[in-house]
Amino acid sequence: MWSIIQIELYKIYKRPRTYIAFGAIAALIWVIQMGLKIDGEAYAAFLMKDINNTLIVDGKVLNGYLICYILLQLLLVHVPLLVALIAADMLSGEANLGTLRLLFTTPYSRTQWVLAKFIAASIYTILLLIWLAALALFLSMYIFGTDDLFLMKSNYVVLIESQDVFWRYVGAFVFASFSLLTVTALGFLMSSLANNSIGPIVATISAIVFFTILSTLNIPLFNVVKPYLFTTHMNNWKEFFDIQVTENNEAITGSILNIQKIKTSLLVLSIHIVLFVGASVVIMKKKDVLS
């Protein structure tokens, strides 16, 4: 099994399309970081304009931690689209090329092939996330330095002490990996249904957009299904940045306000991953390879 995972990784490594996502993320982050480096003070002043009269903020608001938070808010919505480029092509791309039949005549079962391909696509997704983390977090920390993280939520502000931030990012990235692996699994399922590359990529992106709209709309009819939609849970990495406070409104270091929400989201996302991959295995086992 390990040898076919290696072969799948080798093919991903050799494919020019692989590097589009890495390049796109690097370009976006670089542009945003440069913009904030050059014009960051004005941006920070704009963010703080509503609370400047009520709060005196001491220290460096626009630090690496805040930049990373801004980048993740912007990028974690779009990275699934980049993941779909590879994941939704893993099976259908081979069917389109005609190489799927070569693979299926080797001494490995279809289940082994589907799982190996999913594992390889997952490793790609994780590497993409590590790349994102390296640029969004570590490079921002290097360029902008570190300080306490000051976040403005819709009707409250959160202040997290500098030494209490890094582990939250680790948690957020681990959580994001579950979100992106769900997208990988969805792309994989779409890929098992088609014999061309474009269809599954478009279908995966469309499904994400469709369910994201359902998750966001506040209509009672949709509220029934919302807790079961993966898109409702994909953005809950932000929960790592809501902290518990004492009766005196002092932040409790190392705490998370709603850890149950994170656990529930991880469970829902994991169930989706298992269902999507399981369905892909069943479909591919039954499929007549006609391409």
Binding site: R15, L97, T99, R101, L102, T106, D288, V289, L290
Partner: protein, 302 residues
Amino acid sequence: MSIIKVDSLCKNFGSLEAVKDLSFDVNEGQIFGFLGQNGSGKSTTIRMLLSLIHPTSGHIEIFGQDITAQRNQIAKKMGAIIERPDLYPYLTAKEHLQLFAKLSQKKISASQIEHTLQQVGLSNRALDKAQTFSLGMKQRLGIAIALVHQPELVILDEPTNGLDPQGIADIRHLIKDLAQKEGKTVLVSSHLLTEIEQMAHQILIIHQGKKIALGPTATLLDPSKSLMKLSTNNDVLAKEKISQSEFAPYVLDREEGIYLSIPTEKIAALHQYIVTAELPIVSLEAKRSLEDYFLQITSQSN
């Protein structure tokens, strides 16, 4: 010993019966020719042999093992090319062979990979990416992939597609060598009937999914008649003279050349007539035409 044993194989796609009650055996060390018109069910049958398509009913045994139960064991001893040579455009010829050598679960040395590239005439393009290859070169690389792990059974579906005449001859020699020198069993399908005729020990012809002929190549052809090809310096004159002779009923309607399908016992008389009639002859060849036979029995079947 039967290497492939197919019993009552059927495949339906919805209401279409692509393969109907097909049974045949392929013996060890044989070149088995598989013939049929486009859409006759050849590729569907080959895909079922390779477990790419699930049969609707029937049974396939390869190396004495049931293909559904022992697929992975059987696959180690098989190599195949299916219809088109489909490759990874971003990998070189050598990388393709390394990849499929690894997938075979056998220990394949670098020299074996070199030898396989040499066998198919691609050693000078080993480091070029597949996207730069012509169709013929892709076909050769596809055959190399099928052979790199030294399989005992080789299944080649239309292996000469896209090849030039020299390429076709090379592949024919390669297939013959695989059987004669290396003792491999080869199942080969082709639309080039003359190629099959020159290679195969045994021929299966299917039409509209049904077996219509199976047997040794020599006995499939009508033994009571011979196809003679007459080459002359003046075909118009020769045709005119023959059409006035006792051999007129045997002349076939062909656009090029003069062909006669005559009873074997009349060949001597034909020779004598050519001499006495002073036909401007260049050569007289006996042709056993599988093509004629094929067209004859498929049209009968229609």
